[in-house]
Point group: C2
């Protein structure tokens, strides 16, 4: 089928408008980024169902600028790397990866969720998304409480 | 007093021989290095007295080469960053720094302790040494068990 040029242009425009929220890409090489801090969430904790295990936060250079200055520039990316926590013989060790959570700063692209895009990648997958179009309810609903800190919970531990 | 030249030379040689083990410097900027892995050691663990808390391992580029290839070149440095672990409300969070442990590779300089120099710096101090001349008994005695892995216990977690 041949579309007249005007219709074709319209189709493109419509598909742009109708596209779902901008996607947050998998944060390549985040394991080489700065380690911000860590925490263990145990059974019984209110967030255990979602975030039980041991998590590490990693930040790229722009996100480190945000931790320092309190203002996160576009391009800042924070990773929440969640692993199983195995408690045994009076020690807690790291197990399999549960999810790679990502916050990516782009004030325009993600204006409906505080200027941050949120995504989660299941286990060791770089493609299996667990948040997708649910960022507002699945992520931003809680992060909203941190409005005064640009929606970030963590602090850099020197 | 004027020493004859021969005696002077002898004095220098003697002071070199009598000098304590080579010192391991404080690992400047280790917090920007790769985060290797983490672990929590709880009360009741055999190593709790020495290493109780949450520890993170960091590696410089040469140490990362060692983790990858199994052979640690001179200049490789591994840091054992030990913090208080605060267990409360079903979560374990990071507290004050207890010690910054350091392994620094120099096959010649530290030949009596497997080619690794060992040191610990108390709390957030860059100068207060807690191992000093006791590296053989305080550190290497245990690390010796890891001879097949060049005396390193940790593995890099991808």
């Amino acid at each position: 089928m041949k579309l007249p040029f005007a219709a074709f242009t319209l189709a493109i425009a419509a598909s742009t408008l109708a596209s779902p929220l901008a996607e947050v890409p998998f944060p390549a090489n985040y394991r080489t980024w700065m380690h911000v801090k860590s925490m263990v969430i145990e059974p019984g904790h209110a967030l255990h169902a979602a975030f039980g295990g041991i998590h590490h936060l990693y930040a790229n250079d722009k996100a480190m600028q945000g931790y320092r200055d309190g203002s996160f520039p576009d391009g800042a990316i924070i990773v929440f790397d969640l692993l199983e926590a195995t408690a045994k013989d009076n020690a807690v060790t790291e197990g399999a990866r549960k999810v790679v959570g990502v916050m990516q700063r782009d004030a325009k692209k993600f204006s409906t969720t505080g200027g941050w895009g949120f995504e989660g990648f299941a286990g060791d997958s770089k493609t299996q998304r667990v948040v997708g179009a649910n960022a507002a309810s699945a992520c931003f609903a809680c992060h909203q409480a941190q409005r005064a800190r640009e929606y970030v919970f963590s602090n850099y531990r020197p």
